[in-house]
C-alpha cells in the first residue's frame, strides 16, 4: 500500500478473519501516518472492536452480509468508518459495562473500548442502512510520536468530564 493514500476502502466478508485483516490494514496506515506504538495499539484495538461489532451484532454473523471499512487520513486526523448491514442501534441503548450489574457480563465492552481509545467516537445510521461507527484519532505533531502516545489518556479525561 502506498504511503500517500488519503482514502482507503475495503469490503470485508462477515467472518472472523476479517477482524484481523481490518486491524492489520489500519495499523499499516496508522504507522505510516506517524502514530507511536501506544496509539497504534489503541487504533488497532478500536478497529478490531468495530469490526467485531459489525460481524457479531450488526450482521449477526450472516455470511451473505458485508462489512464496509473506510479510512480517511486528513491533515489533522485518521478517521475510520465501519459500516454493517444490520438493523442499526443507538448508543444510548448500549448497557454500561462498568455498571456493577454488568461487570461480570461476558460481552458488551467493545463500544466502551473504542470510546476509551479514540479521540472521537460516534455511531450513525448508515446511508444504505445498518450502523456506521465513525471514530478518529488526532495525528501526532511532526516528530512527537512516541511509545507513550497521550491520546487515550485525553479521551479518558474527556469521558470523565
Amino acid at each position: 500500500m502506498a504511503l500517500t493514500t488519503k482514502h482507503l476502502e475495503m469490503t470485508l466478508e462477515t467472518q472472523v478473519e476479517s477482524v484481523n485483516l481490518a486491524e492489520e490494514m489500519c495499523l499499516r496506515v496508522a504507522e505510516a501516518a506517524g502514530f507511536g506504538e501506544d496509539d497504534c495499539y489503541r487504533i488497532g484495538m478500536s478497529v478490531r472492536e468495530g469490526v467485531i461489532n459489525a460481524f457479531h451484532y450488526g450482521n449477526e454473523e450472516r455470511p451473505e452480509k458485508k462489512i464496509h471499512l473506510a479510512v480517511d487520513l486528513t491533515a489533522e486526523k485518521m478517521i475510520i468508518h465501519v459500516l454493517d448491514e444490520g438493523i442499526g442501534f443507538k448508543l444510548a441503548d448500549v448497557p454500561d459495562p462498568l455498571a456493577e450489574e454488568n461487570l461480570l457480563s461476558t460481552s458488551g465492552r467493545g463500544i466502551f473500548l473504542m470510546r476509551a481509545f479514540m479521540d472521537e467516537f460516534d455511531v450513525v445510521p448508515g446511508k444504505t442502512g445498518g450502523a456506521e461507527i465513525v471514530m478518529s484519532k488526532k495525528l501526532p505533531a511532526p516528530g512527537s510520536a512516541s511509545p507513550n502516545g497521550q491520546s487515550g489518556q485525553n479521551a479518558t479525561r474527556k469521558r470523565e468530564a
Binding site: V19, M45, E49, L98, L103, L104, T106, S107, R109, L113
Partner: protein, 114 residues
Amino acid sequence: MSLHATHRDAGQVTVVDLSGKITLGDGSALLRKTIRGLLEDQRRRILLNLADVDYIDSSGIGELVSGFTAVKNQSGDLKLLHLTKKVKDLLQITKLYTVFDVFTDESAALRSFT
C-alpha cells in the same frame, strides 16, 4: 493458532501457562476449552499465567470473565498471574482488575489458594 496453553500441577492448584493472543476466534475458544476441561477433571483451583499474553480484545476479556464465573459456580477459584502492562491496563479501565485476584509472584499466588 493465536494462543498456546499448557498446564501443570502445583499442589492443589493447576497453573495454566498461556502465550499469544486471547482474541475472537481460536484464542478465546482455546481458553474456554482449557478452563472447561480442567473443571471436568475436578480441578477447581486455577491460576492463569498471562506473562506471555500480549494482547486481549473484548472477546478475550469476555472469556476470562466467563471462565471466572464458571469456576466460581463450582466453588473454585480462578486467579491471574503476571499481567503484561497492556492486559493490566485493559482490566483496570474495564474495572475488572478489582474483580480478579491478580498476583505478580507465583509463590504468593499459590499460597493464596486455601
